[in-house]
Symmetry: C2
Subunit: 138 residues, 2 copies
């Protein structure tokens, strides 16, 4: 059991509505539209610099474990198993906040990333390659 | 034909490598690992505030059109067709940069979003709902 229960909050056009009752992981799960594989894409963003670090997938149990432990937990489609970010590398993600998008099919995690988020050693998985569209600015 | 061809640049652990030759949309496409539906998830982030605005999908033609026009173009899985963001709402996305992640299966767009990115009228699709994990900070 976690030391403190997750809290859920509504934002949006009506503004902040205050915290909902604790032990509301089920409230979060009820908002999520998992795909036919039982997964949702999860974007991890560094909470203070706002750098987008990586995109991975979560199943229901990964969302639950993330909310209950405060650590980023994902589901590997290639290995067919859940993994807690940093268990091997030490590059753990402390999750400050989990957001759900308007239609419930994508999750945004605001995290404090220890070390590199990318398995290549880069801070972000998006550091490797960029293209500038026609008329784009560097 | 676009007025100016897209440019492609390598970043990453070796640092900036300078611009590659123009007309390199094919170089970008060659880096992308489209899924079994021929799509990649695309994250749109406001280029200056770094706010994550939305997540949508792109097929090969949407990537090409985005790079050639400098506007965010996506593929709607529900409607089965491409759409240029803002064609209906006027809330266009001017794309400054397109990044590809380490394994080529996700795209990050740095955009200048006119108005609301979300069809609900919210600036971001992630403004609607948030949960704070156990031990998380508001």
């Amino acid at each position: 059991m976690p030391a403190t229960a997750p809290r859920v909050e509504l934002l949006g056009t009506l503004g902040r509505m205050g915290f909902m009752a604790p032990d509301s992981v089920d409230d979060v799960l009820a908002r999520l539209a998992f795909n036919e594989e039982g997964l949702v894409p999860a974007i991890a963003q560094q909470w203070d610099t706002h750098e987008v670090l990586m995109m991975a997938w979560m199943d229901e149990a990964a969302v639950r474990e993330t909310l209950e432990t405060g650590r980023g937990v994902y589901y590997s489609r290639s290995r067919g198993e859940r993994w807690a970010k940093g268990d091997t590398s030490g590059h753990v993600q402390h999750v400050h906040e989990l957001r759900v998008d308007c239609d419930g099919d994508t999750v945004l995690l605001l995290v404090d990333q220890v070390g590199a988020a990318c398995h290549t050693g880069d801070r972000s998985c998006f550091d490797a390659f960029r293209a500038l569209p026609a008329g784009g600015q560097a």
